[in-house]
Symmetry: C2
Subunit: 353 residues, 2 copies
Amino acid sequence: MAGPQGKNEQGRVTLKAIATLSGVHVSTVSRALNIGTRSMVVPSVAERVIKVADRLGYRPDNTAISLRTGESKLIGIILPDIANAVFAPILSGASQRFSALGYSVIVADVGNDAAQQLDFVSRLAARRVDGLILATVSRKDSLVSFCVDRQIPSVLVNRAEIGSRLSAVTSDDALGMQIAVDHLVSLGHKRIGHLGGPMNLSTGFLRRQGFVKAMASRGLNKTDLIIANASAYSRAAGATAARVLLDAHPKLTAIAAANDLLALGAYDVMQERNLFCPADISIVGHNDMMLMDMVNPALTTIRISHKEMGRQSADLLVEIIGNSKKPVCKIVLPPELIVRNSTGIPRSLAPAS
Amino acid sequence: MAGPQGKNEQGRVTLKAIATLSGVHVSTVSRALNIGTRSMVVPSVAERVIKVADRLGYRPDNTAISLRTGESKLIGIILPDIANAVFAPILSGASQRFSALGYSVIVADVGNDAAQQLDFVSRLAARRVDGLILATVSRKDSLVSFCVDRQIPSVLVNRAEIGSRLSAVTSDDALGMQIAVDHLVSLGHKRIGHLGGPMNLSTGFLRRQGFVKAMASRGLNKTDLIIANASAYSRAAGATAARVLLDAHPKLTAIAAANDLLALGAYDVMQERNLFCPADISIVGHNDMMLMDMVNPALTTIRISHKEMGRQSADLLVEIIGNSKKPVCKIVLPPELIVRNSTGIPRSLAPAS
DNA sequence: GTGAAAGCGCTAACAC
DNA sequence: GTGTTAGCGCTTTCAC
């Protein structure tokens, strides 16, 4: 029975309590309260029921609804690192949009361990999540197979996969590198190196590919391509790769990095070697992470709106949830060149000082 | 009935399926699978049941468990801004710990709007969350009243409240300012200003109070205190306040800011006015956000381990969930001075160049 | 030690 | 248009 304030033992207002207090059956209350079924109920009753519900402060129990309907209004977002300046805005944009659409977001800060990722997704499946946003996937990733097999509506974000098994929202990574190279070439650079990202990630792979293509389009592929890949998107890995790059090609005048952190690693190496940016070497980053305007020198970079990427991935996932027959689709966002102080004309072209 | 692979129509492995396949009743399966009740079942049966469950890839349905037991193993984390370099690590630390403890985390990126915050928390309550981490609260916050009234286990993080109604994990904000002032005084500074944060937040309030006390402890409160408060923890608000500070006190030689972003705002103003840091004015930040070693000049600041704060808040909340009688407790983490290049001896004491 | 049955709060097919 | 009934998957009290 409904307690003194129309609440049960746990202080929860249930349909039953509202039913008792308004003298109708639970199912009528349910119909009156759900806009979709409200028309089945006579307006005067509906009004009365709603009034009682409001007075009691009724909140539908999502757990019960989820058990009954199979829909949880829960979304899982799988990230390699929440604190990373790339993924935090993705999460922010996605979660705000999901919240506006009536979904709650469960985050999984899950690192790069494939087994742990799978375990986490499996836990989320047990929670009956309606869908998944995956920001961790490598170019060939068992997580994707898992989601496809289980038919969990899923969207990849930032990083895509080789197959076209899942929809994805990414930046145009190749175009980004083209823009970076064009910028450097327009300043007069010819000996341009690439600080590549991990090749198992689409971002690393496609940006490198974009670099190669861009150099060819400018007729700069005559000499051997100047490329060193970093093992991770970190400042330390960027520094290591930058040392390789500079040791092998001491005459290069510019670097197009696959990522801002790699570019910062290159900054570190230049400081070690008493080289100046942009006087000795120009550097272009990729992502335009927060604070890239504050480093010294302020970093010229390719801006990607990660927040917008998050938002679009949310919209796309909700569409897929609503229509499981929706064909796989790829949304590719255009990147933008942000010119700051880390790029300039090469020393050979500079006026003598 | 159990389908061909022991799954129901939705591809879900249920207790019933396992029961059928191992020739026992559902309740026996439940007992065998839950470690707490496993002893009620004869070992040989338990073993057989477990084997079948494993073979089928059984995952307990959290939704059903939640409905039945009232526990959801779901935690809500309320943040003003996920993408903020202070809150992202808190979320990261907390979510990793919660995940290890068997909880899933729902994030709410909820901004500063009180009504929206309340709505969100109310939605989370409807999801039967077991507890809440609140990172948004002001010194006097209706959200706290809400959680206390509803008896939702809750822990404040980073920002505390005036009353002692809820447990909290924070940094020792006053001590942080004492350390900052001590550092500046030890360099020879006397005319030290404070760039304060919002006074409605405990961090802003306590850091200012810490500043005042620290100055007094060094006997520097003889002259009027040099203080300007920013309206928000942002670079723009920091710049605005810094202009006020410098206009009113052109002779100050050092600034202790309540926050790194405010310090960066001061950087911006100094550049506007052709002043050099630290030559003209030394600046100390607060938080040691990511990349503060890369700005120009590298920022001397008070380091707070936000990730650790997140972890400890998770541990504390789980304790509270397990023992609702646990008295309110305040965990205060010690901050640490990180000396970089934004502080130096005042010009008056510098050797002539 | 195991089975039977109830029920968490809700929705939806069916009856009237 | 409204009430009745069943059941989502699980745990737990009560029989035996």
